[in-house]
């Protein structure tokens, strides 16, 4: 019989690797980048480049 810990770990991995979860994390990070920019964080533009390119790379990889 599968232990509850194994089942929980399996569910956790499934959730963490779900494509929609990844996209949601990127969306949240993008919104956070706006917040950082609004408060004048100097690294906000750098983070914006990273999020933009990550989203592009992830979006196009469904065709791999």
């Amino acid at each position: 019989m599968t232990s509850p810990i194994t089942v929980a770990a399996r569910r956790g991995r499934r959730a963490a690797t779900h494509p929609l979860a990844t996209a949601a994390v990127l969306l949240t990070t993008a919104a956070g980048t706006w917040g950082l920019w609004a408060v004048g964080a100097p690294y906000a533009p750098t983070l914006a480049w990273v999020v933009l390119a990550l989203a592009a790379g992830y979006a196009v990889s469904g065709s791999v």
Binding site: T22, T29, T33, L47, V51, L52, L54, G57, V64
Partner: protein, 181 residues
Amino acid sequence: MLLSSSVWRGNARWWFAGGELLGGIASGLVGVVAGSLLLRWWLPTAAHAWLIACALVAVAAHEFGIVRLPLPQNARQVPQWVIDEGGRFGALQFGFEMGTGARTFMTSGLPHLVLLAVLLIAAWPHALLAGLAFGAGRAWMALSRLWSPDPAGWDATLRRRDAAVRAVLVVAAGFVALLVA
């Protein structure tokens, strides 16, 4: 689907991911050099942001299925012989060619948006970082499928949720593209 090809055996996946990062960096470098030599010196600065905003609208319309844009792309897959070379270097080369984004089918317009931004406005460090992140994004999808407890189920989920994933990604990219521009 090459996500299930032999390139994933053993630790070849890490060589593949490394190749994706290197390919992305190469594209970032080429983009910033080409943009500096061919575009930036004659295009008015004010036009840069407008071009990126227009591209964002066009790409969003494409991703939401409102229009169907003929995306510029090298519409062919990495040749089988690259994969057949096997081992680390086959995986590395496969990853590099995927990471450049220049030798595959492009099902999304977001890479074109990033390329345009790199061509027009990216500073050197940002261009390199954008290339690295593009490769990381590509590698992440392949690796997350492998790490999934049920890769076949993961494929089915992606097919089922493709439209939603695209929509969320284009909104995220739109947010930050406006900051970049």
